[in-house]
């Protein structure tokens, strides 16, 4: 099988996954990805056009919760791990829309 991922697709995938694209490592990463995709590619040989995908192993249905407020919010506990937090806000570098 031809390599499915080339450097251009690796850049795109990295962007989608919010991971850095590291040119010095790209050869190794490409090899690793294409190796996995070749392994995975074994499933392409099966004829499965009539089969419905199975997203959940147990084919059950969702139970629904009553509309009540149950969460007591301890903001100090929830924010204790925040790297940059002030006045109740989590901060990121300025977002330009």
């Amino acid at each position: 099988m031809n390599d499915l991922v080339n450097e251009k697709t690796l850049v795109e995938l990295s962007t989608l996954a919010a991971l850095p694209f590291e040119p010095e490592k790209s050869k190794a990463t490409l090899d690793a990805l294409n190796e996995v995709l070749a392994l995975v590619g074994q499933m392409q040989s099966l004829d499965i056009s009539d089969v419905a995908p199975l997203a959940h192993p147990l084919e059950r249905h969702q139970t629904l919760r009553a509309d009540t407020v149950t969460e007591i919010i301890d903001a100090s506990a929830l924010s204790q791990n925040a790297p940059l937090y002030e006045a109740g806000l989590y901060f990121v570098p300025k977002v330009i829309e």
Partner: protein, 486 residues
């Protein structure tokens, strides 16, 4: 009584008879951890003070005579279960300093039943790995031979129990992460039916596959622990609203007439002949116990690894997106802009294997590849499930090897990812189908533990535990312990 390798049942009795106090027992394990764990690296963190505090309270309870089933029993928990106010890392630099603001449901249930948590065990980063070499906190060594891997991803949980550093432990299994390390460390490990144990508070790898379970010395111990981990949880929509049977009481029944399916596809080329010999030997024991062996086929098994390495990475690519360095977790220094914050924080926080799987999953879900990869994998998943449904019309339990080889040397497969992925070739199909499966120790191969995998029908953990228990009544492999001099 040798406390090092005592079973839960032994310890329950000893604590009730006041042969040993919970404090003595806890201190005993803490001392062993101090002495032995530097060579094993099975723990990421030790909660000595909290454990001794819990032990004092357990002793008061025992003195009052109102002990709960696990009162005073020291266990270890995989560092993937959140414990409120304690560090929970998932084996990652990304969560290296993460203090959990809540407790995993199954950990809470164990605590409610009286169990004492000694510490959090090492694991492959975000449970991605089969050798425990992918931990930010360093590799774990196999107590049977420290040059060998303990299996993964619950490698720390397996090594800690095998080395007698705790009475039992919790693990999680996405494609074999309880069963394979149990096999390699000579333990009993159970992955229950998907949904049997709540996933609330358990850091997700692949949501539709992840399942917690016990890692113990015996099937009886696994039954006891499972009873106190399982049960419906409204906080987990995928948790099963089914009664939890009294597993530990039901395992004593004999297994005459039990139909054991021997799956052809589990005896393939990659299977180490020594492992195969041990498995065949174990099957013969079952026959001697009155079970019938039935030759069966699970024809789609050869595709399970392919399907798994699409589905699990796809789900993890989304599950790990929340780790962005904003609300918690590793954040890079002085980000230039938002993209830089994301990319550098994630680039620095995640290890290579995790990044690779995120990229594979991103690819499998991306426009143009979704049908050929993600959707196709989910179709194969249905075929694999149907294989099991058909097989269980014929047999009660399916048996085969847990892993193709015994434990291998650290570093051996690190450079060969595909070979590493094939470690899970026999365990993955039960994960994809969501059926329960366990591994028990059978005849050793070249002095190393070998695991027999037993796979059951949906919700039939009871049959598995019964079959495992009856085997352990006849054999001594589960009683063997590693050489003390590590």
């Amino acid at each position: 009584m040798n406390l090092n390798f005592a079973t839960l049942t032994d310890l329950q009795k000893a604590l009730r008879n006041r042969d040993v106090s919970a404090t003595e027992l806890t201190q005993h394990y803490l001392t062993r951890i101090d002495a032995l764990d530097p060579a094993l690296n099975s723990f990421i963190s030790i909660q000595a003070e909290a454990a001794l505090g819990a032990a004092r309270r357990a002793d008061e309870r025992l003195a009052r005579g109102d002990a709960r089933p696990l009162t005073g029993i020291p266990i270890a928990q995989k560092d993937i279960f959140c414990l409120q106010g304690q560090r929970t890392t998932a084996g990652s630099k990304m969560l290296g300093n993460f203090i959990a603001p809540y407790t995993a449901t199954c950990s809470e249930k164990l605590a409610d039943a009286g169990a004492i948590t000694l510490g959090k065990t090492n694991m492959d980063e975000f449970a991605m790995g089969s050798s425990n070499e992918n931990s930010y906190f360093g590799a774990v060594h196999n107590p049977w031979d420290p040059k060998l891997i303990p299996g993964g991803s619950s490698g720390g949980s397996a090594a800690a129990v095998a080395a007698g550093l705790c009475a039992a432990s919790t693990g999680t299994d996405t494609g074999g992460s309880i069963r394979q390390p149990a096999a390699m460390c000579g333990l009993t490990g159970l992955k229950p039916t998907y949904g049997r144990i709540s996933r609330w508070g358990m850091i997700a790898f692949a949501s539709s596959l992840d399942q917690a379970g016990p890692m113990t010395r015996t099937a009886q111990d696994a039954a006891i622990l499972l009873e106190h981990m399982a049960g419906h949880d409204p906080r987990d929509s995928t948790s099963l609203n089914e009664p939890v049977p009294n597993f530990s009481e039901d395992i004593g029944k004999n297994i005459k007439g039990l139909r054991i399916g021997v799956c052809r596809e589990f005896f393939t080329e990659g299977l180490d002949p020594a492992v195969e010999r041990s498995i065949r030997e174990a099957l013969a024991v079952y026959e001697s116990l009155g079970a019938t062996l039935v030759d069966i086929s699970l024809p789609h098994t050869p595709y399970s690894v392919s399907a798994y390495y699409v589905i699990a990475p796809a789900e993890c690519s989304a599950n790990l997106a929340r780790l962005d360095g904003i609300r918690y977790g590793h954040r890079c220094l002085d980000p230039e802009n938002l993209q830089d914050l994301y990319q550098r924080s994630r680039g620095e926080g995640f290890g290579e294997e995790v990044k690779k799987r995120i990229l594979v999953g991103t690819f499998a879900l991306s426009a143009g590849y979704f049908d050929a990869f993600y959707n196709r994998a989910q179709k194969i998943r249905r075929l694999i499930k149907e294989d099991f449904v058909k097989a269980f019309e014929q047999v009660d339990v399916i048996a085969g090897p847990t892993a193709p080889t015994p434990a291998f040397p650290l570093g051996e497969k690190a450079s060969n990812p595909v070979e590493m992925y094939l470690q899970d070739i026999f365990t993955i199909s039960a994960s994809l189908a969501g059926v329960p499966a366990m591994s028990i120790p059978v005849e050793f191969a070249n002095g190393l533990p070998v695991g027999l995998q037993l796979i059951g029908n949906y919700l039939q953990e009871g049959s598995l535990l019964q079959a495992a228990h009856q085997f352990q009544q006849e054999t001594h492999w589960h009683t063997l312990t590693p050489p003390e001099a590590l």
